[in-house]
C-alpha cells in the first residue's frame, strides 16, 4: 500500500471518528434542549390554564370552568388539554411529585409517538389549603421534533461525507505532489546509482519537504563519494592492467633471454671445439691421423649441438602421449634403479621405495613417463652432492589439482620423489618449471628437463608439484589421473 493511500485512509478514518462523536454529542444536546423547552412550555401552559380555570370555577362554578377549558382545547389543535380528576389513576400521587403547582411526567408510547403529559392543579382560591379540585393535563406529541432532529442529523452526515470526500481528494493530490514525486525522483536516482551511473543527482528543493530534500542531498553526497571511489578503483584497475601487461612482457623477455642464453651456453663450447679443430686442420697443425681424430671430435660436437636443437624442438613441438596400459610401479622402479646405478653410487645416495612392489596400472605413454621419472630421480641425485637418501613412493590419493589447470579433483596416482639435498628457495620454486631455468652447473642439465616433464604430465591430464625447504630437501610429486576418458 502506498504511503499516500495510507495517509488518505488514516486521515479519513480519523476525521470520520471525530465527526461521528461530534454528531452524537450534538444530537444528544439538541434532544435534551428540545425536551426541556417542551416541558417548560407544557408546564407554563398547564399553570396558566389552571389559574384561568380556577378563577372561572370561583366565579361561575365548575361547569363554566370546564367549558372554558374545552373551548381553549378545541381552538388550539397543537396541544391537547383535558380536565382530570385527581382520583383518575393516571395522575401521579402527590407524594410522588415535586412540591409544585405544576409538574410533568414523560410517557413513552410504544408506537414511537413519544408523548409528554404536563399537569397543573386547580385549587380553591378562597381556601388554598383545601383539597385539590382537579388538574389540567396538557399532552404534547414529540414526533415532529424527532423528525426535525433526524433531518438535521442527515444533513450533518451529508456534510461529513462531503468533508471526507474533499479530504480524500486533497490528501491524494497533495501526497502525490509531496510524497510520490520526490520518492519517484529518489527512486530513479537510487536505481541509476545502482546501475553504476554515479553522476546522476537528485534535484529536490525545500518545497519537496525537508525530509526528502535532506535525504536527496545525503544520496547526492553518497553518489559523489561512490563516484570518487569508482574513479579511483577504475584508475587503479587500469594501472594494474597496464603494469601486469608490462610484467608479462618483461617475463616473456626474461624467458626468451633465459632460453637464448641457455642455448648459447649449451652450444658455445661445442662450437669452440669444432672451430678449434677446424683451425688446427686448416693450419696444417695435425697429420693425417690427427685430422681424422679432429674430424671425429668435430662430428661428435656437431652431434651434441644437434641434440640440443632437437631437444628444443621436442620441447616446442611436443607430440601427444601414445597411451597404453602401463604398470607405473614397475616403470618407476626400473627408471629409478637404472638412474641410480648410473649416478648414485658415486655420490653416496641410497634409495628407498614405497609401494613399488605392487602394480599400479595407469593409461599413459610409457616412454614419456620414463622420461619424467628419470628426470625427477636425476634431479634428486644432483641435489645431493654430499650424498643422502632418495625416497620414491607411489600411492593412490585423493587430490585437488592446482587452480588454473582446468582439472577436477579426484583420484590420482601419485609418485613422490624426495631427496635430502640442498633444497630450492621459494623464489626458485616459482620458476622451476620454466624452460631453461636451471640452478645447476654447466654440463649437468639444460634447464629443459622439468619443463618437459611438466608438459608431459599436463598432456596426461596430470601435473607436477614441488615442495622444498632449503637445507632439508625437495619433494617432487607427479599426479596421473586414475581414469582416462579419451
Amino acid at each position: 500500500m502506498r504511503i499516500a493511500t495510507k495517509l488518505v485512509v488514516g486521515s479519513t478514518v480519523g476525521m470520520l471518528f471525530v465527526l461521528t462523536i461530534h454528531a452524537i454529542l450534538t444530537f444528544r444536546r439538541e434532544m435534551s434542549v428540545i425536551d426541556a423547552d417542551r416541558r417548560q412550555e407544557g408546564q407554563r401552559l398547564a399553570h396558566a390554564m389552571s389559574l384561568a380555570v380556577g378563577l372561572e370555577w370561583d366565579q361561575a362554578g365548575k361547569e363554566e370552568a370546564l367549558a372554558l377549558l374545552n373551548d381553549v382545547a378545541t381552538r388550539d389543535s397543537d396541544v391537547q388539554m383535558r380536565w382530570v380528576d385527581m382520583k383518575t389513576p393516571n395522575v401521579p400521587r402527590k407524594s410522588e411529585r415535586v412540591d409544585s403547582a405544576a409538574f410533568t411526567t414523560f410517557e413513552e408510547n410504544g408506537d414511537s409517538q413519544d408523548v409528554l403529559h404536563s399537569y397543573a392543579e386547580v385549587r380553591d382560591s378562597a381556601h388554598p389549603t383545601a383539597s385539590t379540585r382537579g388538574a389540567i393535563q396538557i399532552t404534547q406529541v414529540l414526533s415532529d421534533e424527532k423528525v426535525r432532529v433526524q433531518e438535521s442529523l442527515m444533513q450533518l452526515a451529508f456534510a461529513v461525507l462531503i468533508i471526507l470526500l474533499i479530504n480524500a481528494v486533497l490528501a491524494t493530490l497533495l501526497s502525490r505532489r509531496w510524497v510520490q514525486r520526490p520518492v519517484a525522483k529518489l527512486l530513479v536516482m537510487a536505481e541509476n546509482v545502482g546501475n553504476g551511473e554515479f553522476s546522476t543527482r537528485a534535484t529536490l528543493t525545500r518545497r519537496s519537504g525537508r525530509e526528502f530534500s535532506e535525504l536527496g542531498s545525503a544520496l547526492n553526497i553518497m553518489a559523489s563519494r561512490l563516484q570518487e571511489i569508482h574513479t579511483a578503483r577504475e584508475e587503479e584497475y587500469q594501472r594494474r592492467i597496464a603494469s601486469e601487461a608490462q610484467l608479462q612482457h618483461a617475463e616473456r623477455l626474461i624467458t626468451v633471454g633465459k632460453l637464448a642464453s641457455g642455448v648459447a651456453h649449451e652450444i658455445g663450447t661445442p662450437l669452440n671445439v669444432i672451430t678449434g679443430h677446424a683451425d688446427m686442420i686448416r693450419r696444417n697443425q695435425v697429420d693425417a691421423v690427427g685430422a681424422v681424430k679432429s674430424a671425429e671430435v668435430i662430428g661428435a660436437h656437431a652431434g651434441r649441438i644437434t641434440n640440443i636443437i632437437k631437444q628444443l624442438l621436442r620441447f616446442s613441438r611436443r607430440s601427444g602421449p601414445e597411451r597404453a596400459e602401463v604398470d607405473l610401479a614397475e616403470l618407476s622402479k626400473q627408471a629409478s634403479e637404472s638412474m641410480l646405478s648410473a649416478y648414485a653410487h658415486k655420490r653416496g645416495v641410497t634409495l628407498k621405495t614405497h609401494g613399488l612392489d605392487e602394480p599400479h596400472l595407469a593409461f599413459v605413454d610409457a616412454t614419456q613417463m620414463q622420461q619424467v621419472v628419470s628426470n625427477l630421480v636425476m634431479n634428486g641425485i644432483q641435489a645431493m652432492e654430499a650424498g643422502g637418501t632418495l625416497t620414491i613412493g607411489l600411492h593412490t590419493a585423493e587430490a585437488t589439482p592446482p587452480a588454473g589447470l582446468g582439472l577436477e579433483a579426484g583420484e590420482f596416482l601419485c609418485l613422490k620423489v624426495a631427496d635430502t639435498g640442498t633444497g630450492i628457495s621459494n623464489e626458485e620454486q616459482q620458476h622451476i618449471f620454466e624452460p631453461f631455468f636451471t640452478t645447476k652447473d654447466v654440463g649437468e642439465g639444460t634447464g629443459l628437463g622439468l619443463s618437459i616433464s611438466y608438459g608431459i604430465m599436463r598432456d596426461h591430464g596430470g601435473w607436477i608439484e614441488v615442495d622444498s625447504e632449503l637445507g632439508i630437501g625437495t619433494t617432487f610429486s607427479m599426479f596421473v589421473p586414475l581414469r582416462f576418458d579419451a
Binding site: I267, G268, T269, G276, M280, R283, D441, G443
Partner: protein, 166 residues
C-alpha cells in the same frame, strides 16, 4: 666483508667431499705433465668440456707451455689452494678458466684470488657472455674474457703477450 665471504667460500668448497676423486686428481689419475709441472712454471687450464680442454692444452703446449688441467671448479680451487699454501714448488704462469663450471665459477675464483692478494694473470672463457659478465670480469681484473666460440690462437696470443714464452 666480501673478502672473507669469498675466502670462506673457497674453503667451504674445498672441504666438500664431492669430487669424484677425494684424494685429488693428481694421485688418482697421474697426468703425463705431472712430473714437470711440479718443478717448472706452467699454465693452469680449467674447463669442464674434455674436448675443449684437450684442444686448449694442445694449443698451449704447441706454444711452448707446460699445462695442467682441471675439469671442474672444485678441482681448480684445490689446486690453487695447494699452490698458495706452498705445497707446490712450481709457479703458475696464468690461469685460463671457464666461467661456468660445476662446483664454482671462474669469476668467484678470480674474486678469491684478489682477496688473497695472489697476482695471477687470469683469462676467462664464457659462452656468449653477457655485458654484465664482461663488466664483472673487467672489474675483478681479469686479463681478458673470451666469448665462446673464440679463436684459440687469439687466446694463446693473449697469454703469450702477458706472460711471455717459457
Amino acid at each position: 666483508m666480501g673478502q672473507f665471504a669469498s675466502l670462506r667460500g673457497l674453503r667451504k668448497l674445498q672441504r666438500k667431499p664431492c669430487t669424484d676423486r677425494p684424494d685429488g686428481p693428481r694421485h688418482a689419475t697421474p697426468h703425463r705433465h705431472e712430473a714437470r709441472i711440479l718443478k717448472s712454471p706452467y699454465l693452469l687450464i680449467a674447463e669442464d668440456d674434455a674436448d675443449l680442454r684437450a684442444l686448449l692444452s694442445i694449443a698451449f703446449e704447441r706454444a711452448g707451455y707446460r699445462v695442467a688441467q682441471c675439469s671442474n671448479g672444485i678441482e681448480l680451487v684445490q689446486r690453487l689452494q695447494s699452490v698458495i699454501e706452498g705445497k707446490e714448488d712450481a709457479k703458475i704462469l696464468a690461469l685460463v678458466t671457464d666461467i661456468r663450471m660445476p662446483g664454482v665459477t671462474g669469476l668467484s675464483i678470480l674474486e678469491g684470488l684478489n682477496d688473497l692478494g695472489v697476482p695471477l694473470p687470469v683469462f676467462l672463457m664464457t659462452a656468449f657472455g653477457s655485458q654484465e659478465v664482461h663488466a664483472e670480469a673487467a672489474r675483478l681484473g681479469a686479463n681478458r674474457c673470451f666469448d665462446k666460440p673464440f679463436d684459440i690462437e687469439a687466446l694463446v696470443g693473449a697469454v703469450v703477450r702477458t706472460v711471455g714464452i717459457h
